[in-house]
Symmetry: D2
Subunit: 216 residues, 4 copies
């Protein structure tokens, strides 16, 4: 595995920052030591990028980054899930879209891809990531819904792209992890939502990348 | 102000640790620089202790520590509030007690003190603490109920002691701050409760102590 | 006991109705058969009214109605608690007020009554009401905080009035019960809050009044 | 459309009743007047049944009932979703199963059907049902996850059966609606979960069936 592509999103919904973007970029260029493999296994490099919060733009940027990453071994998308109390390892992306993006374009009960299958499953090793996070004292869960906003949209588009447009052999593993608000984002909201600190987020994503790097 | 007494509690309810105890003890012996006062103001020393989770024992230890602390300027009690998404600055202690302590003794709709007044208000500068926490990016709120378990019990007992048994002049300021679970405590619970990292907790309590130290 | 006074409030917070007002008025003039007493005990009459949602007006109307009710045996205040999943039997009213009333007047960390005691306890038989509600299949709980908005404000003012301005002998029992949203109020809110149907609310308040009527 | 098949489940998880079973059976034999169609349209008959809470048994019974219903026009499955504050119109069934059934058999991250597609979408008119429920004052939402317990399992199995084993022409519309706890089920749980009364549940399912009947 040469590279893991890690993506975040621009801020949206009136937020001044997006923890997913910050945590993704904090790992840009990092060398990830595979977890659970032989000590001699080579480290894997991270390439990180931030996706725009527009229906068309997010997918366009994402697919371009996928094509541009040399030796792509895995894609780990990160997104902000306001209200989550822990790291949400998303199991499934569904072919449905709702909401208004940062450009003002609104989708209402639209498909991500007309005629596409109802859903794609994450191909990341979710159970192994969950076990490693918990062993490091970091709360996480397998989430059965990534919603129908842009996170799910880009997640579905990525999985469809890898399933249908990837040259043989097998496409890279790919999936989506939702992170809670940062503590500073919880201020002023009523009721106060759960949040987790930046250090815990960085550590959790590092652990997830180590498991992903070790899984191949 | 010579000393601030900071208290936590032993673990209870099947937990292996109590963040309140750990955060309290992490400040034991610390010199707190008053916030908002003149730069020349002297630092205040912290004396920390951990209270047992028994109805009688908690109050006995607490009152003894209050009497034993030289130049007592303030008492800041800390307790674990599983499920809180942020730091809860408790406004009021009420004369009611429910629950089973670590020795197995259960109280059901009992008074903390038969014949005592219904409630005591915290005398800490709650609004100033709240504002300082938020300015540091730490989510907090004024809570209108500390429950009826041991946290409220000891909080009420302390306020009653200071109001009725303290030699003139005015008693030290005193109050209670509830902290959420630590992330490691959230693991295995269903549904996963909110939590905040140790670093954020230590920082929050430090900020609160600085405001308390500066308020006098 | 000649009469039980039951109060609700006008709608507030953008709502088109207030379940507390509707449920209160639905019992106006009702004859309540005391629960748990001798079969021969006389029924008690209900007198219901709706209080305005203004800081001054609510208390003025409430105290006037108290004075105007012949043979006042008890006062049961009802209020809407958006987000409550069950009937909240309020234990305590505290001397603190926050929020903007329907006239636009805002209180921020104000006392209900300057110089008043921190709190008053409900004098309704809360445990007996709770047991009767549950035996009828109606979920309820003893709540340790009525908040600091108008419900708590009027509740505190009532308890203070009865404690300080009531001619001997003992003042009537009094207290506050919070009810959830009605199902129709839950529509359009995000996230969707709990609600309970009108029939369940009417039944719950009837049960509470029967217990109150039987307690004296 | 000759018949709508409405299914519920036996109690599980320590409950003494299952509202889905009770509400399903309350409509057994009912004649449903199609909503939104011509006044002259014929009523549709309901056939209701209760499924066992076992992985194998639920699907076996369900498929048998589907085959046994004359002139099957639609299948509306009902299930209990403890903690839901409103009626959950399930959008999607996924190929994943977890949990222990009433016979003690546990599935852990198992597929519903090895080799089956990741998901099937409900083919009920969810938006029309949602709009009609809200117009009747009944809170509901489109849910993006039916979980991975038996509700999702049977829902997936049904959709797969209709998609793959149904003789042409098009299979009947089918889908799943989750209902909250009944008020009596909320008693004794901590924290108290949301609930809705039996009357509201019966009314909501009636409305949903009218929309389904009118959609064809």
């Amino acid at each position: 595995m040469g590279h893991i592509l890690v993506t975040g999103f621009e801020p949206f919904g009136g937020e001044r920052l997006n923890p997913a973007a910050e945590i993704a970029m904090s790992h840009d260029g990092a060398a990830i030591r595979p977890r659970g493999g032989l000590p001699s296994r080579a480290a894997v490099k991270v390439r990180a990028c931030v996706l725009p919060v527009t229906w068309a733009g997010a997918v366009k940027t994402l697919i371009a980054e996928v094509g541009r990453t040399p030796g792509l071994g895995a894609v780990v998308m990160l997104g902000q899930a306001g209200g989550y109390p822990a790291f949400g390892l998303e199991r499934v992306a569904i072919n449905a879209a709702n909401g208004r993006d940062n450009s003002g374009q609104e989708l209402v009960e639209a498909p991500v891809l007309a005629g596409g299958p109802p859903a794609y499953f994450s191909t990341l090793p979710l159970q192994a990531i969950l076990a490693s996070l918990e062993s490091e004292g970091l709360p996480a869960f397998i989430s059965n819904s990534a919603g129908t906003y842009l996170c799910n949209f880009a997640f579905y588009a990525l999985m469809h792209h890898l399933a249908t447009a990837w040259p043989s052999p097998a496409p890279p593993a790919a999936g989506f992890i939702h992170v809670p608000y940062l503590p500073e984002q919880a201020i002023g909201k009523k009721p106060i939502p759960p949040s987790l600190a930046r250090g815990e987020m960085e550590r959790a994503v590092r652990v997830a990348l180590e498991v992903v790097a070790g899984a191949r």
